[in-house]
């Protein structure tokens, strides 16, 4: 273990454990959470590891409290995180909105299970991906990532903290039960190879004239002053002006909400991640994310062995949606197939951005998607070339 507690080297980690280690490597030192299957191992590992590295672990009374506590810690300067699953994610929506409005960086991990309601606590799902985008009330933008392996549970947790700090936004790690409980090799790189994007901080020489919500830079992100630094800031969930003071004014409201959305959409290229394979000759493209992407990759390989010109595009980030990547490939291919463990959520977004037929391979959740179902869809689309929906 290094002086900062990062366990550099090769490990055999469960996805949830890798997420916890990613948080430590990213410099996260505050966790407030409430036990919920299948995310609990993240809390359990941090409860054991944080006392070793000087982090604060607190088990809160519920998920509303967990979310509020990590925002308080973030306001005091800490990198802060919570972890949950569907039912807890619903309860966190309230203060995810507060994080958006106060522009307080934080990371929320949702290890998705079968939903709605209590659903399938121990079995996987991917049906919270639209809730991630639209769950809290109002217009807003945030970032969400979908890991497909324990290694990515580590890597994307680090990236999530970087995006959260750099753009002052809540970032969601939308894992699923398969990835959370899967055990695989995870390589923890040396600390100097762990990327670190810093929070933009105010200039202490301009303390007296500092406006905590004035975004002077083209990236639309204002510098963040922490509690106790003497800036005497006011943060509110109410619509506020650049000083942070409440304003009941349509023009100020429009300007604020537009900036909150555009600071993500204008910086999307730096946030978004996708991965593609076999795209050189592809006429059909299979889209998938999380554990379903593992099934999709297998199905694509099998179809290519049969001679079908099919490619594979994995959504590493869900939100902001990789619009640019889709527009680039949409003109070169004939059809898209979207495989996901829900009844067609990200497929709606794909349909919005491509003028090509989109075929869905859906399952409501409870088991990992079998590759054969995706393979079958590839064959059908290849043979019929139509917009048949499954």
């Amino acid at each position: 273990m290094t002086s900062t507690g990062v366990l550099v080297g090769k490990h055999f980690y469960q996805g949830d454990e890798a997420c916890a280690e990613g948080a430590i490597a990213a410099g996260c030192r505050f966790f407030g959470g409430y036990p919920i299957t299948p995310s609990t191992e993240i809390a359990e590992r941090l409860a054991r590891r944080f006392p070793e590295v000087g982090g604060v672990f607190i088990q809160m009374e519920d998920e509303m409290g967990s979310m509020a506590a990590i925002l308080g810690a973030s306001a005091a300067g800490a990198r802060a995180m919570t972890a949950t699953s569907g039912p807890g994610f619903s309860l966190m929506m309230e203060n995810i909105g507060l994080a958006v409005m106060m522009e307080l960086p934080c990371v929320v991990v949702n290890v998705q299970r079968g939903s709605p309601s209590t659903g399938l606590p121990t079995l996987p799902g991917q049906s919270d991906v639209m809730q991630a985008r639209w769950g809290t009330h109002g217009d807003f933008a945030l970032a969400a990532f979908s890991p497909w392996s324990p290694q990515e549970m580590f890597d994307l947790t680090v990236h999530a903290f970087n995006v959260a700090d750099r753009y002052r936004v809540p970032v969601l790690l939308m894992a699923d039960e398969v990835v959370g409980h899967m055990v695989e090799r995870v390589v923890v790189p040396p600390e100097d190879q762990i990327p670190k994007w810093e929070r933009k901080r105010p200039d202490p020489k301009r303390k007296d004239s500092f406006k905590p919500f004035l975004a002077e830079d083209p990236d639309l992100v204002p510098p963040l002053a922490h509690a106790g630094e003497g800036y005497r800031v006011h943060f509110t969930g109410l619509t506020h002006d650049e000083q942070g003071y409440p304003e009941m004014d349509a023009e100020i409201h429009h300007r604020l909400v537009t900036r909150l959305v555009e600071k993500i959409s204008h910086n999307a290229e730096k946030i978004v991640r996708t991965e593609d394979h076999f795209m050189e000759d592809a006429r059909i493209v299979v889209i998938a994310y999380g554990s379903t992407a593992r099934s999709a990759r297998r199905a694509v390989k099998d179809a290519r062995r049969e001679g079908v010109p099919v490619g594979f595009l994995r959504l590493v980030s869900l939100w902001p949606f990789p619009i640019k990547q889709f527009r680039e490939i949409a003109d070169q291919v004939d059809a898209f197939i979207v495989a996901e463990m829900n009844l067609g959520q990200m497929a709606l977004e794909v349909e919005r951005h491509v003028r090509r037929p989109v075929t869905g391979v859906y399952h409501a959740g409870g088991a990992m998607m079998p590759p054969d179902r995706i393979l079958e869809a590839i064959r059908e689309v290849a043979n019929r070339g139509d917009t048949h929906r499954r």
Binding site: F50, D62, M64, A68, A227, G228, G230, Y231, F235, T236
Partner: protein, 276 residues
């Protein structure tokens, strides 16, 4: 005719956001008095102003955060206490005060209140109790006395209210007091005391809300309620906690004072070096 006196400064200018005045509160409201006591306690505390942080939830009392010229966080309804816990644990040097109302802290935030007291987290809570939801126009709150009329209990409340000192004492708070807006010296003294008191400390401040609560309950003016406090309040530090229920309408005493002052160990995050 008297000549108006024009002042260009106020003794609390150092600590109030003068550019936010006038405040939103109604004539006769007691919240300003409680804020005044909090502000004076901050100035008297000897703790650097930059180390004081106020956190509030939603409602009339929650607006205090917007008027204090210190780091201030006006959070979501009921969540001031867990937000404050995050601030305190991430930076233990901060003097964190939660300033909010009875509905915010005891109804929607009730679970956070009792658990923060149970953990004995080192924060101070100033709870203005005006017996109703004032900002939304005078509805039933968790503190509305049995039988009292509000806009959602037009025939009188069929519910029994919380007894804050009893609740907080049972939950594990280190310090619990109750004063009213006529007890400004006691109130300021105890807020100051809470700053130095390790663990969870709580002061309930009974305050008039003539527009939201009083007008339907024959306490039409703020002054009427102040006179009621003057006539009926009894300082009773050692009284059994279960006798601290309040019924403004009944001709019985309103007990105020310090009810809990103990030294249970405050919450401390686990550190490996403390265990070994």
């Amino acid at each position: 005719m008297a000549t108006p006196i024009v002042v260009d400064s106020h003794p609390l200018d150092a600590i109030l956001r003068a550019d936010r005045i006038p405040h939103i509160w109604c004539p006769g409201c007691g919240i300003g008095i409680a804020m005044r006591c909090y502000a004076q306690a901050i100035l008297d505390s000897g703790i650097p102003l930059d180390n004081h942080v106020v956190v509030s939830g939603i409602g009339c009392s929650g607006r205090v955060a917007g008027y204090m010229k210190i780091d201030s966080y006006h959070t979501t309804h009921g969540r001031a206490i867990p937000f404050a816990i995050g601030l305190k644990l991430a930076n233990p040097n901060l003097a964190i005060t939660v300033f909010s109302g009875d509905g915010d802290l005891a109804a929607i935030g009730g679970n956070h209140l009792i658990h923060a007291a149970r953990r004995n987290v080192d924060i101070s809570v100033i709870c203005v109790n005006n017996f109703n939801y004032g900002m939304t126009g005078g509805q039933l709150g968790p503190t509305t006395p049995f039988g009292a009329r509000t806009s959602t209990t037009p025939y009188g409340s069929p519910e029994f209210p919380f007894n804050f000192p009893y609740l907080l004492a049972a939950s594990g708070a280190n310090f619990v007091a109750r004063w009213t807006t006529i007890h400004v010296r006691h109130l300021k003294r105890d807020i100051l005391y809470m700053f130095g008191k390790p663990g969870f400390s709580f002061v309930e401040v009974l305050a008039p809300c003539p527009v939201g609560f009083g007008k339907l309950n024959y306490i039409a003016e703020g002054l009427d309620e102040m006179l009621l406090y003057k006539e009926r309040c009894v300082i009773a530090d050692g009284i059994p906690l279960d006798e601290l229920g309040i019924d403004l309408r009944a001709d019985q005493p309103i007990y105020v004072g310090r009810f809990v002052d103990r030294d249970l160990p405050p919450y401390k995050p686990v550190r490996l070096e403390d265990i070994k």
